[in-house]
C-alpha cells in the first residue's frame, strides 16, 4: 500500500507541483488521478431551488469499485455512466448529512426523494451517447441547420398536414442532391465520432490528499473521497447553457473540457472541402424545397414551419463563432509548436483570444434578443387587458 501511495504521489505530485510553480503555499492538495473513464458531467445546478440538491446513485459495479453507493452531485465533476439521478428536497435540514452517511439505502424511498428521468437540463448528453449524429451537426460550420428527414424522421403532425409531409418525403427521397447530402453528413458524423473516442483525455480524481508543511515536515492527510476534474479542465462557474440556440457554444466548450479541441479543429480544417460541398448542396436544395412547399402548402406559417423543420439557414454568428474557435485553436497549435520563448507575448495573445471569444459570445447573445421579443409578444395580451381595465376604472371614477 505504501509503495502504491509513493508511486501515485510520484506521478501526481510532479505535474501538480509544476502547475503550482508560481504559487507559494504551505497547504496544498494533491489530486490522485484514475484512468480515463466515460462519465457524466453536470451543468446548470444553480438552476435548482435552494432547498433541493441532486444525488447520483452509482451502478452496482461502480459502487463496489468506489466502495460507495452514491454521491451528492456537484457541478463540473465527473460521474461514471450507468447510474441514476435523484432530486432531493430538503425538508428536515439534515438530508445532506443523511446522504453523506452512505448507510441507509431506504432514504431513496422517502417522499422528498424523486428520481429524475429526463436529466437533459443538468447533464451534457454529448459523450458516449448514441445520438452522435445529432450533436456533430451542431458544431459543423455549415451554412444550414438540418432537421427532419436528416437528423430525425418523427415529428407530430395534424391530420391535414400528413399528405404534405408524405409528398415532401417522397420528393426528397427521389432527389439525388438530398441523398448525397444525407450520405455526406452521415459520413462526417461517423468520422468525427471515431475521433472523439480517441481524443477524450478526461481523468477523474479519486481522492484529495491534504499536504501540510509544518515545522519543516510534510504531513499527509487523506481527505474524504471527492470527485473533481483537473483545475484547468473544470467548467466555469458562470457557464450557463439553457437554450437550444446556445447548444453550439455549449458543445464547443465541452470539447475543450474533454480535451478534444485540437482534434476537432484539425478535423474541421481537414474537411473544409466536404463542408463546402454540403453548403452548395444545401443551398440548392433549400430553394427547391421552398418551391415545392409553395406548391403543396397554402398556409404561409405552416409552410415556414415545415421548411424550418427540414432545412434552415444557420445563424451567421454561430458559423463565425465556430470558425473563430477553429482558427484560434490552429493559431494556438502553431504557436505551441514554435515553442515561443516570449511568454509575455503568449499571455497577451491568450488574453486577446479570450477577449475575442467573449466579444463573439456577447454578439451572439445580442442576436438572441428577438426571442425575448417573441416572449414579450405572447404575454402582451395579459398586460394590455390589465391596462385597459385600469383605464376603464379610472375613467369611471
Amino acid at each position: 500500500m505504501i509503495f502504491l501511495l509513493i508511486l501515485v504521489l510520484y506521478f501526481t505530485l510532479i505535474p501538480y507541483k509544476k502547475s503550482l510553480s508560481n504559487d507559494i503555499s504551505f497547504n496544498e492538495n494533491l489530486f490522485v488521478f484514475e484512468n480515463k473513464i466515460h462519465c457524466l458531467i453536470f451543468k446548470n445546478l444553480q438552476n435548482l431551488p435552494e432547498n433541493k440538491f441532486l444525488v447520483y446513485k452509482y451502478s452496482e459495479s461502480t459502487a463496489l469499485k468506489l466502495k460507495r453507493p452514491w454521491s451528492i452531485i456537484e457541478e463540473g465533476k465527473c460521474y461514471e455512466y450507468g447510474g441514476e439521478i435523484f432530486e432531493v428536497e430538503i425538508v428536515n435540514g439534515n438530508e445532506i448529512e443523511e446522504f453523506k452517511n452512505y448507510k441507509n439505502e431506504s432514504i431513496f424511498q422517502k417522499e422528498n426523494v424523486r428520481k429524475i428521468y429526463d436529466s437533459r437540463e443538468f447533464v451534457f448528453d454529448f459523450i458516449n451517447s448514441d445520438n452522435y449524429f445529432f450533436n456533430i451537426l451542431e458544431i459543423l460550420p455549415t451554412k444550414y441547420d438540418f432537421g427532419l428527414f436528416i437528423r430525425y424522421n418523427a415529428v407530430s403532425f395534424r391530420e391535414g398536414e400528413i399528405k404534405a409531409f408524405i409528398k415532401v418525403e417522397e420528393t426528397l427521397n427521389s432527389n439525388k442532391d438530398f441523398m448525397t447530402l444525407k450520405e455526406e453528413l452521415e459520413e462526417l458524423a461517423k468520422e468525427f465520432n471515431h475521433i472523439l473516442r480517441n481524443c477524450d483525455k478526461r481523468k477523474r480524481i479519486e481522492h484529495i490528499i491534504n499536504v501540510n508543511y509544518e515545522n519543516g515536515e510534510i504531513i499527509l492527510r487523506k481527505e474524504k473521497e471527492v470527485f473533481l476534474l483537473e483545475d484547468n479542465k473544470r467548467l466555469e462557474k458562470d457557464f450557463i447553457v439553457n437554450s437550444h440556440e446556445k447548444m453550439t457554444i455549449d458543445y464547443l466548450k465541452l470539447l475543450e473540457v474533454i480535451g478534444c479541441r485540437e482534434s476537432y479543429s484539425e478535423f474541421i480544417n481537414y474537411k473544409k472541402d466536404k463542408i463546402n460541398k454540403i453548403d452548395e448542396l444545401s443551398e440548392k436544395l433549400y430553394y427547391e424545397l421552398r418551391k415545392l412547399l409553395e406548391d403543396i402548402i397554402k398556409n404561409e406559417y405552416k409552410k415556414e414551419f415545415l421548411l424550418e423543420e427540414i432545412l434552415k439557414p444557420k445563424d451567421p454568428t454561430i458559423i463565425s463563432y465556430i470558425l473563430n474557435y477553429v482558427k484560434e485553436t490552429q493559431n494556438y497549435i502553431e504557436k505551441s509548436s514554435q515553442k515561443l520563448t516570449n511568454e509575455e507575448t503568449h499571455a497577451n495573445k491568450l488574453e486577446e483570444t479570450k477577449e475575442n471569444l467573449q466579444k463573439i459570445n456577447s454578439d451572439y447573445l445580442i442576436k438572441s434578443k428577438s426571442d425575448r421579443i417573441l416572449k414579450i409578444y405572447f404575454i402582451l395580451p395579459l398586460f394590455s387587458l390589465l391596462i385597459l381595465l385600469i383605464y376603464l376604472v379610472i375613467k369611471k371614477k
Binding site: R158, G160, E300, Y301, E304, F305, E308, K312, S370, D371, I373, L374, Y377, F378, L380, P381, F383, S384, L385, I387, L388, Y391, L392
Partner: protein
C-alpha cells in the same frame, strides 16, 4: 424569413395601419388617447389571432370574425360608440391592415430573405 420575424413584422404593420386609419376616420379627435387605446386593442388581439391560427389551426376567416367581434366590444366600451359604428370601425380597421399586410408581405420577404 423565420416565424418570429413574420410575427413581429405583422404586429408592427397592424399597429401602424390601424392607428392611421382609425385616426383618419375619427378626424384626429383625441389623437393621443386613440393611439394609446388602439395600440392596446391590437396588443390584445394580435397575439390571440396568431395563437389561434398557428397553434390551434382555426379557420382564417373565423379568426378574423372573432377578432372583429372582440375589437367591436372594445370600441363600444372605450369610445362609447354605437354598436353599428363599433362593428364598422373594427371591420374596416382589420380589413385594411390585412390588405396592406398582404400587399407588402411578398416584397418584404423578397427584400429580407432573398438578399
Amino acid at each position: 424569413m423565420l416565424f418570429k420575424h413574420f410575427v413581429i413584422l405583422s404586429f408592427i404593420i397592424t399597429q401602424f395601419f390601424e392607428i392611421i386609419l382609425i385616426n383618419l376616420i375619427l378626424k384626429f379627435k383625441n389623437f393621443l388617447r386613440t393611439i394609446f387605446l388602439i395600440f392596446l386593442f391590437n396588443s390584445f388581439t394580435h397575439p390571440l389571432a396568431i395563437y389561434l391560427y398557428v397553434i390551434l389551426s382555426w379557420n382564417y376567416f373565423l379568426i378574423e370574425g372573432f377578432i372583429v367581434f372582440i375589437e367591436s366590444i372594445f370600441y363600444k366600451v372605450f369610445f362609447n360608440f354605437s354598436w353599428q359604428k363599433s362593428i364598422t370601425l373594427s371591420f374596416c380597421a382589420n380589413t385594411f391592415s390585412i390588405l396592406v399586410g398582404l400587399f407588402i408581405k411578398d416584397s418584404l420577404i423578397k427584400l429580407l430573405f432573398y438578399n
